[in-house]
Symmetry: C2
Subunit: 148 residues, 2 copies
């Protein structure tokens, strides 16, 4: 009844599913990259419980990080929290928040495009170099090339 599909994950499970260590997950939480998760109530030591939506969000955030977004920018992205509060009240200044988030995503998408371009360049160069070496390997008549 609490999570969708009744699937709730502990921090250890999230760690296994995402490949992010529990240290790092708590660190990200403390740094404001991840929202404070729901906690088990009562005596149960306040254990973090993540649902599927949380998991997808963590993976999204991790993707941003892996592709070069700075932790500080991710924290900016996340800082205003959920777009609607518990009671389905809009947060204050939602327009500004949306603008800010769109801007951060724009900035990152630009970075991604540059990275794609560079990746393709480097790929080409690396392949050329590789071919060159392969040719050298197979050639009997080694011509005098002074090169790397």
């Amino acid at each position: 009844m609490k999570g969708d599909k009744n699937l709730m994950y502990s921090i250890g499970e999230v760690s296994k599913l995402t490949g992010i260590s529990t240290y790092t997950l708590r660190y990200y939480e403390k740094m404001g990259l991840l929202p404070n998760p729901y906690r088990m109530d009562g005596k149960q030591n306040g254990i973090r419980q993540y649902n599927d939506q949380d998991l997808r969000f963590i993976q999204f955030i991790y993707g941003l990080k892996q592709t070069g977004m700075k932790l500080k920018d991710i924290a900016l992205f996340v800082e205003d929290g959920c777009l609607l509060t518990q009671n389905n009240q809009e947060i204050d200044g939602i327009q500004d928040v949306l603008h800010k988030r769109i801007e951060l995503l724009n900035k990152h998408v630009n970075l991604l495009e540059q990275q794609l371009e560079q990746l393709e360049n480097v790929m080409t160069l690396a392949n050329e170099k590789r071919s060159f070496y392969s040719v050298m390997l197979n050639e009997q008549t080694s011509k005098p090339v002074k090169t790397f």
Copy 2:
């Protein structure tokens, strides 16, 4: 007469042309990422002189670095130096060197392919998120969505 096209660059010029600081260029040289460049002889303080081939090599190496190859792996790639010595003598065990370099390039190209894939994933997710926010911005009737 010394360099091709008579173009020789000082470390400062290389820095400007590549966007790598002189500190970093010397650091890379010390770490074995860059071969020891030709030096001006005689009284002239042994100033480093790079030619076009050197410049291209530096850019190639920098591309590897920028796309995630570890400095240590780059150093491995570079460590056996030029493929033919000054006197056009083959270096010892050139086959092994070629194999090693091809292997390092293979490894890196694999990494590049993974990166390309992830970049595209993240691009898609970021674009979706951006669209979602844009829709929220333009919608008058804000539906109760509790989400990031």
